[in-house]
Symmetry: C2
Subunit: 248 residues, 2 copies
């Protein structure tokens, strides 16, 4: 039997998680079957129930097990057919890949009207709309283009600099009286418009990833819409589902 080394640098709850995971992967604990109870695990590995629970919650987070009050904790059916894609803001992503990020402000305009798709989303022009558009580059090559529409209201004078570097939700928070607290994003594939294709150095009609982001206030009023188009050859989303490693 594997034992817990209390002098290791990796804490017991983590060691236990690795042990249980190993037993699941080796078939000692099978999908659909219950794990030993928390108390039993505590006795077996000489750990307090609290520690056992912390370990189990770690495994549950990763979707390997799931607990049912009053019944037990069960090994989940393996579901490698899941994928989790995390999109952070462009700068963070590119830095992780050690690429040089660049933004180029293409257009800033005050508008009276919203494009049709924005109206369908329930956004209203109120006192007007501020539109801007940026080109996103990595190592000086165009990767994506974004179009943003935000409610305009009692705006302080806007500085071009801000559009270059600040996050959308921040800009809205600063320049309007609205505070976005919820964000919904939809990811699809589309054909590039002539306008976008030009800036992205691709052909009109080429496939692009389209990310549409809508920011809502606390009372569910949409106050900002951003639409991103990414070159599919230079930008993709990656999901990695893998087991715990032995050490941290």
């Amino acid at each position: 039997m594997d034992k817990i080394n209390k002098n290791s640098f990796t804490p017991p709850f983590y060691q236990l998680a690795a042990i249980i995971e190993k037993k699941i992967m080796e078939g000692e604990f099978k999908p659909g079957e219950p794990l030993p109870s928390e108390n039993d695990l505590g006795r077996e590995y000489e750990l307090s129930r609290t520690t056992v629970r912390k370990c189990l919650s770690l495994l549950a987070e990763r979707g390997m097990i799931s607990a049912q009050q009053g019944r037990g904790t069960f090994v989940s059916r393996p579901s490698l057919d899941r994928a989790v894609f995390v999109m952070e803001d462009f700068k963070t992503q590119m830095k992780r890949q050690e690429k040089e990020v660049g933004y180029k402000l293409i257009n800033v305009r005050f508008r009276k009207q919203l494009p049709e798709f924005a109206l369908r989303l329930g956004m209203t022009p109120d006192e007007g709309i501020l539109y801007y558009c940026r080109l996103l580059t990595a190592n000086a090559e165009p990767v994506g283009i974004e179009h943003k529409y935000m409610c305009y209201k009692k705006g302080r004078p806007t500085l071009e600099n801000e559009f270059q570097y600040k996050a959308f939700s921040e800009i809205i928070a600063i320049h309007t009286n609205f505070l976005p607290v919820r964000s919904q994003a939809v990811l699809t594939a589309e054909s590039a418009s002539e306008y976008d294709a030009n800036f992205l150095h691709i052909s009109t009609g080429d496939p692009v990833l389209r990310l549409q982001q809508v920011l809502y206030t606390r009372d569910e009023k949409p106050v900002g819409i951003g639409v991103f188009y990414y070159r599919s050859d230079r930008y993709s989303l990656i999901s990695d589902i893998h087991p715990l490693k032995g050490e941290r």
Copy 2:
């Protein structure tokens, strides 16, 4: 000051999380600034440190705060510019939308060779490759098409039925000696090939979402590759980032 109601059905750690979140959203705790220490919070709300920690870990999971050992717990910069897309298997997703799922097996073949992109991913034909292809429908309308390639090894007789209904990783586990434990997925936009477009009832060249999934064994050997193409008008990924609600 908000108080913790210990007789409520929503547990204290959750109530506290909602209180702290509210204070963050109302600006009482500002981004970049530290929260009161865990001990202070415990004193203020008459909760044990353990409970306070459970609450903080909840907020940390949601990216609202982050702890730094020896320094404190800090309010994160708001990052609504993040998106998290979770893709489950097709059946689960469609059921959630209350759509009638259908699979149609289009092709099953034994192959000696792998397509070029699979070789680039480090997969080797070994004793041969089993290829199959399914059409995914929702309410009888074509939504996606998937192509799967798996290592073939000492296979038991394969049943067409299985290809219809079982998850890819399960099929591999059953029909080979390989057990997939890691999955990597890449999401991009592409133009539909003539073959795929035909089945999807779209035009060749139309944009589609392309999901490529590679399954690896414990020793990092790729043993299965699945490529999905989804009609972009009938399939999209959605991410929702929103604050805690008052009640559970």
